[in-house]
């Protein structure tokens, strides 16, 4: 029984690796354009981080409007002029406002977003801890069932008994 479990476990591992590895490993590089110019991919890498100023919540790299096509051309021109990614993003923010940034910066009013998030999660954690503390029995030591030396394949009799009790309770309810 132990042997068959090991074989089953090993097979599960192999299957998982076979399933996960090929997909995540098929990442060969894309060859550069023949003329050495700025590629669509380089433009899209930056456009992806910007939102269309006109269409709500549409990233610039997939927006089909003419205005977005013009803005992507602007990005291409700036890349050809060797402007950096940060400079290009700053240019669009200056012209259209911080709403064009897909990820809000931790500055200005958007500090409030990060601040509120941290405060909210902290408050929730404090509430959770408080609830747990007030709910725990105020006893020095509770009676604990003696630790049985359990091995997985021995099928802990207490586990079996608990399972049966739950089945019966379900049937009765």
């Amino acid at each position: 029984m132990k042997q068959s479990k090991r074989i089953l476990g090993g097979a599960a591992v192999v299957l998982l690796v076979l399933a996960l590895a090929p997909g995540v490993l098929a990442q060969g590089p894309t060859p550069p354009p023949p003329d050495g110019g700025v590629t669509d991919d380089e433009v899209n890498a930056i456009a992806k981080q910007l939102f269309c100023p006109v269409c709500e919540n549409v990233p610039l790299d997939v927006c089909p409007t003419q205005a977005c096509a013009d803005w992507r051309d602007e990005i291409r021109t700036m890349l050809q002029d060797n402007r950096s990614e940060d400079e290009i993003k700053a240019y669009f923010v200056d012209r259209y406002g911080r709403r064009v940034l897909a990820t809000p910066e931790a500055s200005g009013i958007d500090l409030g977003l990060y601040g509120l998030l941290m405060i909210g999660v902290l408050v929730g954690a404090v509430v959770l801890l408080t609830v747990v503390r007030t709910m725990v029995l105020d006893v020095v030591q509770a009676v604990v069932a003696p630790d049985v030396d359990v091995t997985y394949e021995d099928l802990d009799p207490e586990y079996v008994a608990r399972l049966e009790a739950e089945f019966q309770e379900f049937t009765r309810s």
Partner: protein, 725 residues
């Protein structure tokens, strides 16, 4: 005449709902059984009225009665019949009627099912359901009536009105508009937004030749069933809320209201989850950006009630089992209901697109008022019964299933809070920009959501694996460790192998590790339980496996749901972290390489489809590791009334990876040059597969037991310990 009949059907349904609300409240307060029964009947009557109204609207859609504004706005002559039927939920007014019909259906079912079992709660449950239905009927009767028709006035103005032309009623409509101009702010918007009862005298009906047609984005199978599924989920959650409110009003805060509504909750949760998955599938297939979830505000508005609903579904188990977390469960169901209405409000009012669009339509302010009223009433009731909701027991140990569920609740609510914060932050900053100089509207995109919710989702996945191993009241670390030992070893070995094979992204490895661990623990739990039964009862393994599901559907259906979620998680992690993309312009005969794949552009064809679409279609061949694996046809559909849609061509590998190809709509497109955008999405189809398992698991967990009629047993309250909640 037909459309006018529809106006009266909606009006009568509204009156019946209002009567049901008032009669239920008065009958409940005065313990007047006849009045409560009358309220029930009034709420029941809304169902045939709304069914007739819906069928009438569908017949107008199918017949193409373009005199009716709603029909004109969502259909055209070229649309096939099945799309004309589904156009019922293709526009605001029709979808609100559909919402109302679903609400009356659920209300009827809940009342009939629980009339005897939970009779004490029925009066106020009816009141709560009638209030919700009444609000939506108010909207569709006066502000978003799908039966409003086109008229042309003697002055040549085109307008809509509910009934015929009349001097008297027309003058009242004019007076109302003048009056609305004098009212302040939101009130003026609300009064102005009421659809006129009648056009001015001398007006004549206007019948356009053709309609605008359905938005091309909605002409996809996923979009056809996605809205009904979402609405079923939204509406379904009003039932447990109604019973919770009734329990609070009556002060009967035992678990009977939970037992009465458990299946309703599970079914609502299933449909909401299914709606979200279908929405993702639709986005992947139609929106042309290679993804399935963009953390769009409208998506988030539906996701948040699902999150709190999930927390509620888990948390009520503690109340049923140990009489604990009663306050918490009330908060969760109230929050879920409010998020449902808020979600409907957010998508209908346009507020998440722009706070200014909120102020231009009457829908926004009306929803806002309803949500505010529901919040005030719910909180007031909760405060009133706060002491009564004290726990009957306490936590015996920090390592217990109760603690695990508490942590589970915290994580789900934390994620919902985070998503809500990101969704409404742009609205807040837009408002602030109106009042404070130097402040600009902000956007919150997918990267922010992924970074903030990712760790919380990871913790949830781990909890999904550990919590079922932990016993109620008290568990031991040793027993927990021994239950996890083999799955942990298998997980570590798998991760080590993946690392050695070149998977180096730490975030992905952690995510995979947690998902694999949880999946293996869940599978081993199935195996252990089946093995326990074979030893205890002498059944063979398969028979034991089957009877295990039959004897405890909640638990083992729940495990299957967890498995489905884990598989979805693996698909999400892979397709997000390891997605590759490229965009190139090539001529016919040239190829584009992405990883191990090559796409060879063959030819382009243009034609007009039978439904009037102008189609540009590319023929291309896909090679993987040098071998031809597929011929695909990505295309662009141009509808006369909408912007072009890029429909992908895909090759799906046996493992569930997608090689996904789009024609770029805004670039030159002919044989000399066509621009392709290609995505490689590893394991993306595990998301849809995991979704299927999730649904099967939910159906198993929710399956009713027909073998005996259950009579709720009101358990005697156990002695309440001195320490409070």
């Amino acid at each position: 005449m037909n459309a006018e009949l529809g106006v009266f059907l909606l009006l009568f349904a509204l009156l019946a709902a209002i009567y049901a609300l008032v009669a239920a409240l008065v009958g409940g307060r005065k313990q007047n059984e006849a009045l409560v029964e009358s309220a029930r009947n009034a709420l029941l009557i809304t169902w045939p009225l709304l069914t007739l109204a819906s069928l009438l609207l569908i017949s107008l859609l199918v017949r193409g009665d373009f005199n009716t504004e709603f029909v004109w706005s969502v259909t055209d002559r070229a649309m096939p019949t099945y799309l004309k039927v589904t156009a019922l939920w293709g526009g605001q007014a029709g979808s609100l009627v559909f919402w109302s019909w679903l609400m009356s259906t659920f209300a009827a079912g809940a009342m009939l099912r629980n009339w005897r079992r939970e009779h004490d709660l029925m009066a106020y449950a009816i009141a709560a359901m009638a209030a919700t239905l009444g609000f939506f009927l108010l909207l569709v009767t006066f502000w978003e009536n799908p039966f409003a028709r086109f008229w042309q006035t003697p002055q040549g103005e085109i307008m809509t009105a509910l009934l015929g032309a009349s001097d008297f009623l027309g003058r009242i409509a004019t007076w109302r508009l003048d009056f609305a101009e004098r009212l302040p702010g939101m009130l003026g918007v609300i009064v102005k937004g009421i659809i006129p009862l009648s056009a001015p005298g001398g007006s004549f009906t206007l019948i356009p030749d053709d309609g605008q047609g359905l938005n091309p984005l909605l002409r996809h199978p996923g979009m056809i069933i996605h809205p009904p599924m979402l609405y079923l989920g939204f509406v379904g959650f009003t039932v447990p809320y109604a019973f919770a409110v009734a329990a609070l009003i009556k002060g009967e805060v035992s678990s009977s209201w939970i037992r009465a509504t458990r299946r309703w909750t599970l079914v609502a949760w299933l449909f909401l989850g299914l709606g979200l998955i279908l929405g993702g599938w639709w986005a992947y297939d139609v929106l042309g950006w290679g993804g399935y979830w963009a953390w769009d505000p409208v998506e988030n508005a539906a996701f948040m009630p699902w999150l709190t609903g999930t927390a509620f579904l888990h948390s009520v188990m503690i109340q049923e089992k140990r009489g604990m977390l009663k306050r918490w469960n009330m908060v969760l169901i109230i929050l879920t209901y409010l998020l449902v209405v808020l979600g409907t409000f957010a998508t209908r009012s346009g507020i998440v697109s722009s706070v200014h669009s909120f102020a231009q339509s009457a829908i926004g302010p009306l929803f806002f008022l309803f949500i505010a009223a529901a919040l005030v009433v719910s909180v007031a009731l909760l405060v009133k019964r706060w002491d009564t909701l004290a726990s009957e027991n306490q936590l015996d140990s920090l390592l217990s299933r109760e603690t695990a569920f508490l942590l589970n609740n915290f994580l789900f609510v934390a994620i919902a809070f985070t998503v809500g914060l990101g969704t409404y932050w742009p609205v807040f900053t837009e408002l602030a920009a109106d009042y404070f100089r130097g402040v600009e509207r902000s956007s919150v995109g997918p990267e922010w959501y992924n970074a903030t919710t990712g760790p919380m989702f990871a913790a949830l996945i781990l909890l999904m694996g550990i919590a079922p191993l932990v016993a109620w009241k008290r568990a031991s670390w040793k027993r927990l460790g021994s239950s996890m030992l083999y799955p942990l070893i298998a997980t570590v070995v798998t991760l080590a192998l993946l690392y050695l094979l070149g998977v180096r992204n730490i975030g992905a490895l952690v995510g995979f590790g947690l998902a694999i661990l949880t999946a293996l623990i869940t599978l081993f739990e199935y195996h252990r339980a089946a093995l326990a039964r074979t030893r205890a009862h002498g059944e063979n393994y398969l028979a034991a496996f089957w009877s295990m599901f039959g004897r405890n559907r909640r638990r083992y259906g729940g495990y299957m749901i967890h498995l489905g979620v884990v598989i979805i998680a693996i698909g999400v992690i892979s397709s997000n972290v390891f997605q590759a993309e490229t965009q190139r312009s090539v001529s016919a005969g040239q190829a584009i390489t992405l990883g191990d794949y090559i796409l060879e552009y063959k030819t382009l064809e243009r034609f007009v489809a039978t439904d009037g679409r102008f189609v540009t279609r590319a023929q291309a061949v896909v090679y993987h590791n040098g071998r031809e694996v597929a011929r695909i046809t990505p295309r662009i559909d141009n509808y006369p009334s909408g912007q072009p849609m890029s429909i992908p061509g895909k090759y799906t590998s046996w493992l569930g990876d997608d090689f996904y190809v789009l024609l770029v709509t805004w670039e030159q497109l002919d044989l000399s040059s066509a621009s392709f955008k290609i995505y490689y999405n590893p394991l993306v189809n595990w998301i849809w597969g995991g979704g299927f398992i999730f649904i099967v698991g939910t159906l198993i967990a929710a399956w009713p037991d027909f073998s005996e009629e259950r009579v709720p047993v009101r358990s005697a309250r156990r002695a309440i310990p001195a320490a409070g909640d």
